[in-house]
């Protein structure tokens, strides 16, 4: 099959699945689920074939709309970056589909759920394959819509409906800047085709101000949930757990980082500094918030925020001059490190969410980690795979997360020591809250009725866990990552000599500090030890976490709503009241006449109307 056909097929399969389900299979949940999983499986096979066939940069374009010189087309751009992303999205996506078969087995609206998963895959794959910015924006919005659909899956819960609405609106705030950036870009370059842009800004080409890349970055701030638009992501936990895995690991939030890497050529140093700062602050802030969460999914949500902060920081740190094949060359290390971490994070975060999902369903939807406990013996597969995920995220040497996190730390070490310190502190916190959660969920005695009777989940749920655990372990080795990433792998910064040793020692020390202190701190574990022992720190962190939501709530309730009410008031008073009555006065004669015709008898109206028509026609044809 020619690569163009496979690429279009990969894009269309999930759309087809969603269309078939929503049109014909609304009430056949089981059949719908198999169609959706089948589509995900088929596209995963096609993707693997496409990624490993080595076909790259084949031309594919299809005009969508044209007005004069303004045209939008359905271009595909399939380079090494897209290939890597396609692998992550399709493989992780497929296993999440598979896991959903088990997790959503008894859901009342199963067909809607699986149609939603398919439309989510469609939207995300569109971003991955898009060859111009307008097309990215189209699918970008569709990803927002898919998340609305899936986060709000249990719409009868007010919290889920609110979370879905919040996700969509907050994303639209980011899209506001993103779209303006795209339009500006179009008017500067006359095109938004990524290849054409790369040529236009090449040596001696157009130089843009920092405004353009920063507007584009707004899109990533919304979708990748960076400060200050991060507020939707923790609430998005209201969706079913596999959806959280999909949003957090392979698709939605990764889209922001991927998009930045796509428009890397438009970046300028000032913009990159801002991006790095936003990323660092988000990473640190989210790690602080994660420490005080009681809900297993919210801990993971904040850890996602924090890890995304890492990726954004890595991107913002930018390029680095490095020894490469004996020459000194400037490499796009920011892109390399960010995509490396995106990949490994995709594996281990999907694993952690699905593992959490497996524990949650075994404990009848108990999500409070202080009411779980002792699941180690009861759920061995979940335990061991989850352990692999925890080890990967805290950066245990030898696992995927260790390599990618070290690449980012090294880049920060070379470029900016302040950022390096913040990231290292974040790593301490990461180890602390992850080990805290791991220990509370799997060790000790069960602290709740549900946890005491937990049983291991079925094959549909454990198989994805095992595969993702394997990927989380080996995903960082050059033998695996380099095959996936192609040229991109050479952009991953690699520490040499003494720097290598320093980074290794620091990251080891950091990880051990966090992990060991969490283990010791939560030994008794009946209640939140932090709350009892350090109440001041605890309440401080809680306030920190809630401050953003309260600011936004205040804005919506007090500013936006009141402004709207005020304008409405003026509308009613001035326009409806004064002006119209005034006009009515002026045209009082007309009004009186009309009122005389308003005799309340329908036939009268019709006769008046017909008479008018006849008169008009008579006059027009010259009878009168």
């Amino acid at each position: 099959m020619p690569p163009v056909v496979s690429a279009y097929l990969i894009l269309l399969l999930p759309l087809l699945s969603a269309a078939v389900i929503s049109l014909f299979l609304r009430k056949q949940g089981t059949l719908a689920s198999w169609i959706s999983v089948g589509a995900a499986g088929a596209l995963a096979v096609l993707s693997l074939h496409l990624v490993f066939s080595g076909a790259r940069n084949f031309p594919a374009t299809l005009e969508w709309l044209r007005f004069g010189s303004f045209a939008v087309s359905l271009d595909l751009k399939f380079d090494d970056l897209a290939a890597l992303m396609l692998f992550v999205v399709s493989i992780v996506g497929f296993f999440i589909h598979l896991f959903s078969l088990g997790y959503m087995r008894d859901d009342a609206a199963k067909a809607r759920y699986f149609a939603g998963l398919s439309i989510f895959m469609f939207s995300m794959l569109g971003i991955v394959l898009a060859g111009n910015l307008f097309m990215i924006f189209v699918f970008w919005e569709l990803v927002g819509f898919s998340s609305y659909l899936l986060i709000g899956h249990w719409h009868e819960r007010p919290s889920a409906a609110d979370a879905a609405k919040k996700a969509f609106i907050v994303n639209r705030v980011g899209d506001f800047g993103f779209l303006l950036g795209i339009i500006w870009c179009y008017w500067i370059f006359g095109t938004t085709n990524l290849d054409a842009l790369a040529r236009a800004v090449g040596p001696g080409g157009v130089v843009v101000s920092a405004g353009l890349p920063l507007l584009l970055f707004c899109g990533a701030v919304g979708k990748s949930a960076q400060m200050p638009l991060h507020v939707w992501l923790p609430d998005a936990m209201e969706g079913p757990t596999p959806v959280s895995a999909l949003i957090h690991a392979a698709t939605m939030v990764a889209a922001g980082v991927y998009m930045l890497c796509r428009v890397n050529m438009l970046m300028v140093p000032e913009a990159l500094s801002v991006i790095a700062c936003v990323g660092t602050i988000t990473a640190f802030y989210a790690a602080l918030c994660a420490v005080v969460q009681r809900d297993i999914k919210r801990v993971l949500a904040y850890s996602t925020l924090s890890q995304l902060g890492y990726m954004i920081t890595a991107f913002g740190l930018g390029s680095l001059a490095q020894q490469h094949d004996g020459h000194n060359v400037v490499l796009a290390t920011g892109v390399g490190a960010a995509m490396f971490h995106l990949t490994t994070h995709g594996f281990f975060k999907a694993l952690l969410f699905l593992g959490a999902g497996s524990a949650i369903i075994a404990c009848h939807h108990e999500q409070d980690i202080f009411k779980l406990g002792g699941l180690r013996q009861k759920m061995p597969v979940t335990f061991w795979t989850f352990t692999a995920g925890v080890a990967a995220i805290i950066g245990l040497p030898g696992l995927a997360g260790f390599f990618s996190k070290d690449a980012i730390l090294y880049l920060a070490w070379e470029k900016n020591l302040g950022i390096f310190t913040m990231l290292a502190l974040t790593a301490v916190l990461t180890a602390f809250y992850m080990v805290r959660m791991w220990k509370l969920v799997f060790f000790g005695e069960p602290r709740g009725e549900a946890a005491a009777h937990a049983r291991e989940s079925g094959l549909f749920m454990t198989l994805p866990l095992v595969v993702l655990a394997a990927l989380s372990i080996v995903g960082g080795y050059t033998g695996v990552f380099d095959r996936l990433a192609g040229e991109l792998a050479s952009w991953v910064p690699k520490a040499e000599g003494s720097a290598h040793l320093i980074i290794l020692l620091i990251s080891l020390a950091v990880m051990l500090t966090g992990a060991v202190s969490a283990w010791l701190f939560y030994l008794p574990a009946a209640t939140d030890s932090l709350e009892t022992r350090l109440p001041l720190a605890f309440s401080g962190l809680m306030t920190l976490k809630e401050s953003f939501d309260s600011i936004y709530d205040y804005f919506v309730a007090k500013v936006q709503q009141r402004f709207a009410m005020l304008l409405n008031f003026f509308e009613q008073i001035f326009l409806a009241g004064l002006i119209v009555r005034g006009l009515a006065g002026v045209t009082g004669l007309v009004g009186l006449g009309l009122r005389a015709l308003h005799v309340g008898n329908l036939h009268a109206y019709v006769y008046w109307f017909l008479l008018g028509v006849v008169l008009l026609w008579g006059f027009a044809t010259g009878i009168f």
């Binding site: 004069g68 969509f168 639209r172 779209l179 303006l180 028509v613 044809t621």
Partner: protein, 512 residues
Amino acid sequence: MTFPNALILQLAIATPLAAALVIALGLPKRFSVKLAAVAFVVPAVMALWLWSQFPAGAGARYAFTSQTSTGLDAFGISLHLGLNGIALPMFVLAGVVGAAAGLYALRSGAERLKIYLMLLLIMQGGLMGVFASIDLFFFYFFHELALIPTFIMVGTWGGRDRNYAAMKMTIYLTAGAMLSLLGLIALYVKSGADSFDLLVLRDQIAAEGLRSTWGKYIFGALMFGFGTLVSLWPLHTWAPLGYGAAPSSAAMLHAGVLKKFGLYGLIQIALPLLPDGAAHWVWVLALLAGLGNVLVIGFITIAQRDLKQMIGYSSVMHMGYCFLGIATLSLAGAGGVILLMFAHGLSVALLFMLATSVHHRTHTFELSEMGGLAQKAPVLAAFFVAGTLASIGLPGFANFWGELTIFVALWNFSPWLSAVAVGGIIISAVYGLRAAAQVFFGPPSEQVQNATAKLPFPDLEWNERLPALILLAVLFFIGFWPRALSGPVDGTLREIYPAVETRAPACSCAYR
């Protein structure tokens, strides 16, 4: 080859009018309903057929033309019909929305159903005629033919405040129509063409030009006249009130199609004939639309507590985008407006219709009394959410392409105004999703529980589902394949808009 298609065009206008006449002559009720059903659907099928037959590369030429003398040749008036790339989308829109509104009306349970259907048929016949008329006299005549039944329907079958609403609508729309008629007559007189035929006028003005001082006043009259008909801020207050009171099929046809008459007039007639006059007014138009329609009305929409009022205001807001597109005096701007008019017509008709369906089930339009209807009526919820997402400009629906094109064109006119317009996507997401959530999500409210308990089948029935499906299918089709519409539009605009574009204010987009 061309003759049958020209005949089909005439029949598309004549069928609903003839059916109305037959019903008026005393056809029994059950036959009337069947005849009306056929007469509502036939123009839609014909319009879709003509769409498929529209010649590629027609350029500025009209297709399916026919010219019939009406005995008024001395005034330069004749029934000259045909479609160009600008008229085609509106003609199709009139057919499709007419079919949906008509089918919905068949089982609306309105009292004196025969007269209701008859008025709707007259309205649809008028609408098909408006967009097929090349002669400006008939263009105006068909508009009035469609407008008058609206007043009668609002006043007779309307809901709360129907008399006040009908009165206000009549005063505003008659005044707006008068003003635009004045503009058209001035155009007729000042061009010296002695003809109401658009093509003759165009040739005459191209050859001899118009005295530019007059162009300025004529465009002003047309802008405010047509603007009132389309609810340009601050002349918009008739719209939410009128639509709030109007029976649903009348609201669907008026908000969906008839209201676009003004915008269509500006794009098809005023801009190409009076580009110099237009250049005087663009900033007035852009500021009224950008700050008034988009920002102020956007916030007012957020404050609405009544579902139908909310939809009415949101429609006023989206008309702001259309005016902004026109103010850019650019090909892309005009093209975006045509796309958005088409898309908005379908989506607002869908929303007005479904709002009535919601009312049938809950007996209220108050948002605060609703909630959780999705559990009782999942299909209704799915359609309503789809309609909402379409109207707030989600890709995959036709509306997105219209808005996007206008935003792009607007940047070249003024980046700041473009930012205001793009900010509208946040505002519309806020009110749209809030309304959808309040009606459908969460636990069922007391009102919903009480009202739906008595219904045997609370979800959408086929007579509601079919019109909704028709509207949604077209929205999706253009959402996924916008070229089907942008192709003909672009072909025509390319030939008549270069002259307009040269009058656009100097480009301010050059900063990097």
